[in-house]
């Protein structure tokens, strides 16, 4: 070991190149960032499922999952305005600089996914981390590695459906089955109304050769896990990504501890089989 | 030390109630009553809105003096906000002075919307007295940033 190990706590500067307002309430936006120093970008190699610590000098750091796919050129983070740091980020404009360190955490088990049918079940902002792996799989270089791809997505209202440009593209693709639902309809909305687990029950996907990947609010996850189990999905074939309050991102600060696991290094991606063995502290 | 005090221009944070003292400051301007430029005015709805924390934060962030000014007793826009404030301020002021903070770092006044001249007089008095105390040190948060680092990160 060298006398002075590299400092893992220093953020690297990134410039905001585009801000996309995602929700009709304007509280969720996607920030597309490019590296100020290209060499930082070359060192930042990530796969779907990972997250990064975003920092605004003077406000602090927050862990945010990466919503872009590594097959895309820039990093994207979809951020809902919640606390100190996310609020500060929402005040930023295109051209402003923020700090990024990472990538942290494990990735989706892409090897497990290969050659299988893939079922995505997402609710609200839970689509953000899944979007990374969806677009990764749908990229021309990877699509052939997977069989049928089904995406079930729901949000509270039509205005809360995120990434509308992607939803449209997925809906138009012949090799993707995309179904969406909202809890409450709004004027001019002609689509499905109902909760995500209900949509899952209606769709009744076959568990054979299929991996289910889900992310969303805790209450949705609870019922989705129940439905998937009833449909016959084994716990090893249900994958989810956890959200925890994290600080350091590198397994030292003890905040995201669930049992012996640190969500920031052992997660955030876990199978339902793993979750069943963990204390219910998430 | 004496020389430092002589050239010293204190920074004074003034919390002025919207209905009386802030209007009084306005009137001072309209009436062209001169007063020293040392105050930084923060407009608050009522002197009763001024939490002791605001005063302490101002001192911690380097204010040399703090002034809170509201409506005269009986004249509060919210009927009794300044009465409650008065008890709170008495406790804060006495506590700070009991702990050894210089008397006069934190001051209070009642100035009505009609008292433009009085406002300028209060500001003159407060500025003079804080000037005499010299720069605030006791409650100021130290940042301990080494000079060379400060210089290094200041350069674009």
């Amino acid at each position: 070991m060298s006398e002075n190990p590299e400092n893992p706590y220093l953020p690297r500067p990134m410039r905001i190149v585009r801000i996309t307002v995602e929700s009709s309430t304007r509280d969720t936006r996607t920030f597309e960032l490019e590296w100020v120093n290209p060499e930082d970008g070359r060192a930042f190699l990530y796969l779907p499922g990972q997250f990064a610590e975003l920092s605004v000098l003077g406000s602090g750091e927050a862990p945010i999952s990466i919503t872009s796919s590594p097959t895309q050129p820039n990093l994207q983070f979809c951020i809902k305005r919640m606390g100190v740091v996310t609020t500060a980020i929402h005040y930023m404009k295109e051209g402003d600089t923020l700090g990024v360190r990472g990538p942290y955490g494990n990735t989706f088990p892409l090897d497990l996914f290969k050659g299988k049918n893939i079922l995505f079940i997402a609710g609200g902002i839970g689509l953000a981390p899944l979007r990374s792996v969806i677009n990764y799989m749908l990229d021309d270089s990877h699509r052939k590695d997977y069989k049928d791809i089904t995406i079930l997505y729901g949000a509270r209202t039509p205005g809360d459906l995120l990434f509308k440009y992607d939803l449209k593209a997925w809906g138009e693709r012949p090799d993707v089955a995309y179904l969406e639902t909202v809890d409450r309809a709004a004027a001019g909305y002609a689509g499905r109304v109902g909760f995500v687990p209900a949509l899952l029950d209606q769709t009744a996907p076959k568990p054979k050769d299929t991996v289910a990947i889900t992310c969303g609010p805790p209450i949705m996850i609870k019922y989705v896990l129940k439905s998937l189990t009833e449909l016959g999905f084994p716990p090893e074939m249900i994958i989810t990504t956890l959200e925890m309050r994290m600080k350091c991102g590198i397994g030292k600060c003890g905040r995201c501890n669930i049992g012996k696991y640190y969500v920031c290094i052992d997660g955030p991606v876990f199978s339902y089989a793993q979750l069943q063995k963990m204390p219910k502290e998430y | 030390m004496a020389e430092e005090v002589e050239n010293f221009e204190p920074k004074i944070v003034a919390f002025l109630c919207n209905w009386c003292s802030y209007a009084g400051a306005d009137l001072a301007g309209i009436g062209r009553y001169q007063y020293p430029p040392n105050v930084r005015v923060i407009r608050v709805p009522c002197s009763g809105r001024v939490d002791p924390l605001y005063i302490l934060k101002a001192l911690q962030n380097g204010a040399d003096g703090v002034l809170v000014s509201g409506c005269h007793p009986g004249d509060c826009h919210y009927i009794e906000g300044n009465y409650y404030a008065r008890r709170k301020f008495a406790v804060l002021k006495n506590l700070l002075e009991a702990l050894g903070l210089e008397e006069g770092r934190v001051q209070f006044s009642w100035v009505s919307a009609a008292e433009g001249e009085r406002f300028s007089q209060v500001i003159r008095e407060v500025t003079e007295s804080v000037k005499k105390l010299g720069p605030a040190r006791r409650m100021v948060k130290s940042f301990e940033i080494p000079k060379e680092i400060e210089k290094e990160i200041a350069e674009a």
């Binding site: - | 924390l53 302490l56 008065r86 406790v91 006495n94 506590l95 702990l99 050894g100 006044s109 009642w110």
Partner: protein, 283 residues
């Protein structure tokens, strides 16, 4: 009968007659000269209740969080009773949901078993202002043990010196918040020190941040502080908080003729006002 057996007897009766759902009292500590809070809901366990001069906690801090259990009996020193009265005034608990078991208090001793706690030496109320049952005799107690009077020492100094002493005390603080959490009157769901929007003070032990914590906490307890001294006894670093409490107490008495927790019908000093209140300090 001594106070301890009388407390046990009262507790047994209350639990047996189902007058209360639980008795909060002092139990044996894990080492000599210590006690620990105990929560007793069965008559057979009343033998766990102890009373001695090391009952340092103010148990009334548990009352608001246990109120859903029903009526609760509590072993309370006269000073603890003052905070119970304040909690009732502030509608955190109901008078008819608490049974106060009190006594004439001999004062608490430090862990050495010899020195009186300074707050006990200064205490003028050795009998409870309110109670349901009284163990032992109802007579004013004399406290003759030696104690260290750090308050008088503090106030004998000049302002600059006082500030240095105050700063030295604040530098000892490790911001564990034991003082706040041991205080029955610090029942806020969210304390100002933990707010993040806005963040009022830094999280660390920088001295001005620590000062603001203690000054504002003192002000928040003004007119509500029962002067039980539980905060000072809870402090692992032995930070001398007494001058703050003393100053607040004097102001309450001298400026507003108010003593916390003595009269259940009087509003807290900062919740009320008089048009002719002390005004001399205002220009």
């Amino acid at each position: 009968m001594d106070i301890q057996s009388e407390i046990q007897k009262i507790a047994a009766r209350l639990l047996k007659n189902k007058e209360v759902a639980m008795v909060i009292g002092y139990g044996a500590g894990s080492a000599p000269n210590r006690t620990a809070p105990v929560f007793i809901d069965k008559e057979k366990d009343v033998g766990k209740l102890v009373f001695n001069r090391f009952c340092v906690n103010n148990l009334s801090l548990y009352l608001p969080r246990l109120k859903e259990k029903g009526k609760i009996a509590i072993v309370a020193k006269p000073c603890d009773v003052r905070t119970i009265v304040c909690l009732i005034q502030e509608k955190q608990i109901e008078r008819d949901k608490v049974h106060i078991i009190s006594f004439a208090c001999p004062g608490l001793l430090e862990k050495d078993g010899k020195t009186l706690f300074a707050s006990c030496a200064e205490c003028a109320v050795t009998l409870p202002p309110v109670y349901d049952t009284l163990s032992g005799e109802a007579k004013e107690m004399e406290r003759n043990e030696p104690f260290t009077d750090r308050v008088a020492d503090f106030f004998s100094k000049m302002p600059a010196e006082r500030w240095e002493m105050f700063k030295a005390e604040m530098e000892k603080c490790i911001r564990c918040y034991a003082c706040r959490n041991a205080c029955p009157m610090c029942y806020c769901e969210e304390c100002f020190v933990e707010r993040s929007l806005p963040r009022w003070i830094g999280e660390g032990s920088e001295v001005t941040d620590t000062m603001i914590f203690h000054i504002v906490r003192a002000i928040h307890t003004a007119g509500r502080c029962g002067e039980c001294g539980a905060c000072a006894r809870a402090c692992p670093m032995d930070v001398n908080l007494a001058p703050l409490a003393k100053q607040i107490r004097e102001d309450m008495l001298n400026l507003f003729h108010h003593q916390a927790g003595v009269d259940p019908n009087a509003p807290a000093a900062l919740e009320t006002f008089k048009p002719d209140d002390y005004n001399d300090f205002i220009k």
